[in-house]
């Protein structure tokens, strides 16, 4: 399946990635090639088959609602690219 330029741009946007002009050809071709390969799934009859997200039975896990020790703020912020007054700092989010 040939991936269109629009599809490629859309998927890059969803991924928060910028595809340079000189890479667009490579990624589009490789994604198309990959989608051709996974076409083989279409021949599998999955009518009435339930999807599996986890191979082994997984149940909700509950615990008592007690306050437990957690990372101190300083440790939680130690890897932050930018912080201010104990908060993570990011560039402008909203237009002025």
């Amino acid at each position: 399946m040939k991936v269109s330029k629009e599809d490629m741009e859309n998927v890059a946007q969803l991924s928060r990635l910028t595809i340079a002009d000189d890479e667009a050809g490579m990624y589009t071709e490789q994604l198309s090639h990959f989608l051709d390969y996974v076409e083989n799934l279409k021949s599998v009859d999955t009518d009435g088959v339930e999807p599996t997200t986890y191979a082994l039975p997984i149940e909700n896990v509950f615990r008592d609602d007690e306050v437990k020790a957690s990372l101190p703020r300083k440790a939680a912020l130690q890897n932050a690219p930018e912080e201010e007054d104990g908060y993570f700092k990011v560039p402008r989010v909203l237009e002025e």
Binding site: V11, R16, L17, T18, Q30, T52, A75, P81, R92
Partner: protein, 490 residues
């Protein structure tokens, strides 16, 4: 005395009997590392000072007459996607170049309780995405048996460290074969436990429904002992299994009489390397001669496993890797607003294969394609799992190659991602079904490269896998070999 070439269980005995000290052993491993690491490149970071300190602490315990646990004082290596408190954890990615975790992964907490010695953090394909360790953002790791070849991946650094003698044992992680395939390529033993057997807390997530931590070691005995240390339920990982952990060393028994071994015809694919097929068939015959019953079986949905895996794993990866947005940790590349900042960060700091998988994943999850790709893959996953459930009604374990070829030359596949994905045919179905599997050495190719035999078990039945593997290993001489690294052997 040369110590770096011995398995952990031998060294443990020597330590306990005071025949050697941990300082002596740790020095020997680091001196071997100094000799070979330039040619192998197994490590991203070594922690020599800490290692020596911990070795001294173990020696003091032994001197005081204390009993020491199995891994105490024995130098091991940790894949660099496992969080180590206060020690950089990069995932071989530029986006985590300076990331120092403020906490330990649960497996690290357990290892520390056992007074182990950590040599360093090992190389991998960036975020564990790849099968050759060529996708590391830092350097390529070379196969100790032939440095022109890849060590496999993604735990290539861990396997190469154990195979070259710069670690006695290692931890890796396996999402689609990332422990077993490099173990096979490097002639060591690697085990992927059942999904949930080992806590994933502190393992940097790639594909959460498939990831599992496991040991890479010189022999099956070491694997069983390491699994004893790391297995078990963890409150910090809600997907970890609550099942009781048996003593896996009780399965180190040489007895396959009456054991039913399934031989899946679909795993002997067209294009399988002749030497690999010969070695595997010989190994199966040997097991038969030892009293095992070999049964031909069919896992009919195997031809769809690669498609299924390479839709599910990237979809989970796309979601997991959303967190690398330049906000709370990791690198940041500035931008005029928050979205530009995120885009610039991810575009400049992720490598090509990671971007490729994020985009495949987002494509498969996106509106209009979700049902055709992601949901379809989840349904086929059910059928793949059913194949195993059916097979295990008649057999105890399944035996097959770990990889269709021995280690290949560096650069041979790097420009053809799909060809590289197809290499994973023997390993990915096991992750999709959540089963335990081991790879152990069963011969060498004509060119002298190791070949791995894979033994797969029922969910949570690591014991039978270990028994079958131990039985084979103890009657053959392939395990426990160290690559001599072109005469660098002292």
């Amino acid at each position: 005395m040369k110590l770096y070439d011995k398995p952990a269980h031998v060294l443990h005995e020597m330590l306990a009997k005071k025949e050697i000290s941990s300082v002596e052993l740790t020095n020997d491993v680091f001196s071997r590392l100094d000799d070979v690491e330039g040619d192998v490149g197994a490590y991203l970071l070594t922690t020599r000072e800490d290692a020596m300190k911990n070795a001294e602490a173990v020696d003091k315990k032994v001197a005081a007459g204390e009993e020491i646990p199995f891994l105490a004082g024995i130098p091991g290596a940790i894949k660099d996607n496992i969080c180590t408190n206060g020690v950089k954890t990069t995932c071989a990615s530029k986006i985590l170049e300076n990331f120092v975790p403020p906490y330990d992964a649960t497996v690290m907490t357990k290892l520390k309780k056992n007074n182990t010695v950590v040599v360093g953090k090992t190389n991998l394909d960036e975020f564990a995405m790849g099968g050759s360790t060529e996708n590391s953002a830092y350097h390529v790791t070379h196969n100790p048996w032939n440095t022109d070849c890849v060590p496999g991946g993604s735990s290539g650094g861990s396997a190469a460290a154990v195979a070259s003698g710069s670690a006695i044992w290692a931890l890796g992680s396996d999402t689609g074969g990332s422990i077993r395939q490099p173990a096979s390529f490097c002639g060591v033993v690697g085990m992927k436990p059942t999904y949930g057997r080992v806590s994933r807390y502190g393992l940097v997530a790639y594909a959460s429904s498939l990831d599992q931590i496991g040991p890479i070691a010189r022999d099956v005995t070491d694997c069983a002992n390491i699994l004893n240390v790391i297995a078990g339920h963890d409150d910090m990982d809600s997907t970890s299994s609550a099942a009781a952990v048996p003593d896996y060393t009780k399965s180190l028994v040489e007895n396959v009489k009456g054991l039913k071994i399934g031989l899946p015809k679909e795993y002997f694919i067209d294009g399988i390397d002749e030497d690999v097929e010969k070695a595997i068939r010989t190994a199966i015959d040997d097991l038969k001669n030892m009293g095992a019953e070999v049964v031909d079986i069919s896992l009919p949905h195997t031809p769809y496993a690669i498609s299924t895996y390479y839709l599910i794993a990237p979809a989970e990866a796309a979601t997991n890797l959303e967190r690398y947005d330049g906000v709370s940790y990791g690198e940041r590349v500035s931008g005029i607003d928050v979205v530009e900042m995120m885009k610039n960060t991810r575009t400049q700091k992720f490598g090509t294969e990671v971007k490729r998988r994020i985009m495949i994943g987002n494509y498969a999850l996106s509106a209009g394609y979700y049902d055709a790709y992601y949901l379809k893959a989840l349904k086929v996953r059910t059928l793949i799992q059913k194949d195993y459930t059916e097979a295990f009604k008649t057999v105890d374990v399944i035996a097959c190659p770990t990889a269709p070829t021995p280690a290949y030359k560096i650069g041979a596949m790097i420009n053809d991602p799909l060809k590289m994905y197809l290499q994973d045919i023997c390993t990915v179905p096991i992750n999709l079904a959540g089963l335990p599997g081991i790879s152990l050495p069963c011969g060498f190719s004509e060119k002298g490269m190791p070949i791995g035999l894979q033994i797969i078990g029922k969910p949570l039945d690591e014991e039978t896998v270990i028994r079958a593997a131990f039985s084979y290993e103890s009657t053959h001489s392939f395990a426990g070999k160290i690559a001599n690294m072109g005469g660098k052997d002292a």
